[in-house]
C-alpha cells in the first residue's frame, strides 16, 4: 500500500471498494472507525451489504463486475465540475489528455445504467471523494479477482491521481494483503517475473547481477504462474515443489486441479499438516509453524517485522529454512547459511529497496521499505513529491464484463470470498477450536425472498451447481445479498466453493475471476 495503516485514521474520506475489512482486516477496520469518529466519511462499494458496508456512511451495492463503469461515471462528474486537482496533474503526472478523452466517452447516466446505482448517488460520492482534503482508496480482492482486475486497479489509481490523492499522509491507495506474509513473498521474488525487490527477470543487468552473486546461469524468460503450472501438469511441468500452499482448495475449478495434481511425475509438498494437496504428493516434508522459527514477515504496509522462535517443531519436523538449505545443498547449490539473519544480509546486498533492513535495526517496531541503507529511517508513505517512476502515468482502463454471466440454465450469480473466523483454505483455522466453534459448517448466503421461493429455511440444505461441479451448503438467509445472488466462503473442504468457480483469468495478472460466475441453486431434498 502507498501509505501506512494508522494514516487511515486521519483521512477525511475513505472509499472502500471490494473489501470487507470489518471481517477480513479487523485491525485496519479499527483505524477506519477512528476516521469516522473524527468526522470522516466512509463510502463502501460492494454488491453485498457486508459488515463494512453496514458500518459505512454510504453503501453502493453495484451489479457484480461493474467497478470501472462506476469509477468512470464518478470521474466524468469530477471532470465536468472541475473538482480535479489541475496543479497536481500538471506537475506530477502524464497521459492526462488521452485519459480525459476516455472519461468523456462516458456519461454519468450510462455508468448508472451499467452499475445499477442512481446517477444522483454517483455524483454525490464523486463529490465527497473529490472535495475532501485527503481521501484514501481501500481495495481488496473484490477488485482484483475479475477478468479485468488489473484494469479495475488502474481505474482506482487514476481516480487517486485525478484528485491529487497520492503522496500525502492521509491520502493514498491501500490494497489490503491477506496472508501473514503475502507482501513478503512478493517482495522476495516468489513471482515468475521478478527477482527480490521487483527487479525484472528480463533486464540483462539485473540477470547478470544475480548470476554473479549466485554463481549460476539464470533465465531471462518469465516463468509460469501457479494456475499455469497446475494446468501444465505432466506436460510442460513434470516436477513440482510446493511449500505450504494448498491449490486443491484455493484454485478455481478444483475438480480439474485435483486431476492435475496426480499428473506430475514427482510432487514434493512441504507443510505442517497433511493438506488436501499433500495427499497427492510423492514426498511430504514436515515444516514448522510461525511459533517454531526465526525470520521476518512483511505486513501490508511494507513493514518488515521479526518473528522469534518460541518452541521447537514437533517430532523430527524442521524449520523450513533448514529444509531449504538441505535441499539446496543436495542440488549442488551453495546453501550453507548459518541462520535466517545470514540470508537477510544476502538480501540486503542484492535488493536495493531492502538494503538497510538488518536484524539489529528491526527490534520491536520493524522497518518499512523502501529502506536503501542503514541510515535510512524507512518509508511511511510512498510517492511524496515524486512518483517512483518519475511522473504518475494516467492509463486508460479497459472494462471487460465478467466472462460467465447468469443465463437460463445457470440463473444465479455466485460470489466467493472470506468470512471472519477462517483463513484461506482453513488448513490452520479449521484446526483451531475457538474458530471452528464460531463457524464449523459450509454455508451460502441467500436473500429471504429467494429462500421463500425455494422453500428453504435457515440451515436448510442448498445444492449449488455450476458448469464445473456441484456442492451442498447450509442456507444462511440474509438480505445482505441481493435476490438472485449467492455468496459462499471458500474455506470448507467438505463443500469446496472452488468446485464451482470459473477458471477465467485476468490476462495480465493471471488472477482468476472468483467474484462472478453463474450457478443454479436448488433445495437439496434429504
Amino acid at each position: 500500500m502507498t501509505n501506512s495503516i494508522t494514516d487511515l485514521a486521519g483521512s477525511e474520506c475513505i472509499f472502500i471498494i471490494g473489501s470487507n475489512a470489518a471481517e477480513s482486516h479487523p485491525i485496519i477496520m479499527g483505524e477506519i472507525y477512528k476516521a469516522m469518529d473524527a468526522g470522516g466519511t466512509v463510502i463502501v462499494v460492494d454488491p453485498r451489504r457486508t459488515a463494512v458496508a453496514e458500518n459505512a456512511n454510504i453503501h453502493l451495492a453495484i451489479e457484480p463486475g461493474t467497478d470501472i463503469p462506476l469509477l468512470a461515471g464518478m470521474m466524468r462528474h469530477i471532470i465536468d465540475e472541475g473538482l480535479y486537482d489541475a496543479e497536481f496533474i500538471e506537475e506530477r503526472t502524464e497521459g492526462f489528455d488521452e485519459f480525459r478523452q476516455f472519461v468523456e466517452g462516458w456519461t454519468v447516466e450510462e455508468a448508472s445504467r451499467q452499475c445499477g446505482i442512481e446517477s444522483s448517488m454517483i455524483r454525490r460520492v464523486a463529490e465527497i471523494y473529490a472535495k475532501a482534503d485527503e481521501s484514501a482508496v481501500v481495495y481488496c480482492m473484490g477488485i482484483t479477482q475479475h477478468v479485468c482486475g488489473s484494469d479495475n486497479v488502474i481505474a482506482l489509481c487514476d481516480l487517486a491521481m485525478l484528485c491529487g490523492n497520492v503522496g500525502t499522509e492521509h491520502s493514498g491507495v491501500y490494497p489490503l494483503r491477506g496472508q501473514n506474509n503475502v507482501q513478503g513473498a512478493c517482495d522476495m521474488g516468489a513471482l515468475p517475473n521478478v527477482y527480490p525487490a521487483y527487479q525484472s527477470v528480463t533486464d540483462p543487468d539485473i540477470k547478470a547481477k544475480f548470476e554473479e552473486a549466485w554463481g549460476r546461469p539464470l533465465s531471462d524468460k518469465p516463468g509460469l504462474t501457479v494456475v499455469e503450472m497446475v494446468r501444465s501438469a505432466g506436460s510442460k511441468i513434470r516436477g513440482l515443489f510446493i511449500m505450504a500452499e494448498n491449490p486443491a482448495l484455493s484454485e478455481p475449478d478444483v475438480n480439474h486441479v485435483v486431476e492435475s495434481l496426480s499428473k506430475f511425475d514427482f510432487l514434493v509438498v512441504q507443510d505442517i499438516f497433511m493438506s488436501e494437496t499433500a495427499r497427492f504428493a510423492d514426498l511430504v516434508l514436515p515444516g514448522s509453524s510461525f511459533a517454531e522459527k526465526d525470520g521476518t514477515f512483511t505486513n501490508t504496509e511494507r513493514r518488515f517485522q521479526l518473528v522469534r522462535k518460541a518452541i521447537d517443531p514437533p517430532g523430527s519436523a524442521k524449520q523450513d529454512f533448514s529444509i531449504l538449505c538441505m535441499l539446496g545443498n543436495a542440488l549442488g547449490l551453495d546453501f550453507n547459511y548459518e541462520s535466517p539473519a545470514d540470508v537477510m544480509s544476502e538480501i540486503n546486498r542484492l535488493a536495493p529497496a531492502y538494503g538497510g533492513i538488518t536484524y539489529d535495526r528491526l527490534e520491536r517496531q520493524g522497518l518499512q521499505w523502501p529502506c536503501p541503507n542503514e541510515e535510512h529511517p524507512g518509508t511511511r508513505f510512498l510517492h511524496q513529491g515524486r512518483f517512483t517512476r518519475g511522473k504518475g502515468l494516467f492509463v486508460v482502463p479497459n472494462h471487460v464484463a465478467p466472462q460467465e454471466l447468469p443465463d437460463d440454465e445457470y440463473p444465479w450469480y455466485l460470489n466467493t470470498g472470506r468470512m471472519f473466523a477462517h483463513y484461506h483454505t482453513g488448513t490452520l483455522t479449521r484446526r483451531a477450536k475457538q474458530l471452528d466453534r464460531e463457524v464449523s459448517r459450509p454455508y451460502g448466503e441467500i436473500n429471504s425472498e429467494d429462500a421463500t421461493q425455494l422453500d428453504v429455511g435457515e440451515g436448510g440444505a442448498l445444492r449449488v451447481t455450476s458448469r464445473r461441479g456441484s456442492i451442498v451448503v447450509d442456507a444462511k438467509i440474509t438480505d445482505r445479498v441481493k435476490k438472485g445472488s449467492i455468496f459462499i466462503p471458500f474455506h470448507f473442504t467438505e463443500a469446496r466453493a472452488n468446485t464451482l468457480t470459473n477458471p477465467a483469468l485476468d490476462p495480465r495478472s493471471k488472477t482468476p475471476e472468483f467474484k462472478v460466475c453463474a450457478v443454479r441453486v436448488e433445495k437439496e431434498e434429504s
Binding site: 479487523p26 485491525i27 479499527g30 506474509n181 513478503g184 513473498a185 517482495d187 522476495m188 521474488g189 516468489a190 513471482l191 527477482y195 544475480f210 549466485w214 554463481g215 524468460k221 516463468g223 504462474t225 501457479v226 503450472m229 511441468i237 513434470r238 513440482l240 515443489f241 511449500m243 505450504a244 500452499e245 484455493s250 514427482f266 510423492d282 514426498l283 511430504v284 510461525f290 511459533a291 525470520g295 505486513n299 504496509e301 518473528v307 518452541i311 514437533p314 517430532g315 523430527s316 524442521k318 523450513d320 529454512f321 535441499l327 543436495a330 549442488g332 546453501f335 547459511y337 535466517p340 520491536r364 517496531q365 483463513y423 483455522t429 484446526r431 474458530l435 493471471k510 488472477t511 482468476p512
Partner: protein
Amino acid sequence: MLLKVVDGRVVDTLPDRESVVGNGHLCIKGWSAHEFVHHPDRLTHPLVKKGDSFEQISWEDAISLAAEKFREIAEQYGGDAVGGFSSAKCTNEENYLFQKLIRAGFQNNNVDHCARL
C-alpha cells in the same frame, strides 16, 4: 503478538501493547493463533508415498530422493520442467531461499505463490 509458553508448549496468545501495528489489539484469528500449533494432526516425520499410502522415511533419504528426482526430470525434459510454489505463510528468508533454489537450481523462473488467490 506475544506467545505464552509453558514447558515447551504455547498455551496462549497475547496482544503486544508496544507494537505500532496492533497497538495492543488482536483479531479473533490472532487470539486463536496458538491453537493449531500443537494439533495432533501435525506432521512429524518425512513421508514417502508407497502405493496408496505413506511411509516414514529418514530426512537424509527424503532430501536425496527429492534432489535425485528433480535432477532426473531436469536432465530428461530440461530445467523448465521443474517449478515451485513458495508460500505466503513462510518468512521472507524462506521465500528468498525458495526462489533462489528454483532459479539457480533449474535455470528457469517457474516460481510463484498464492498472492492472486
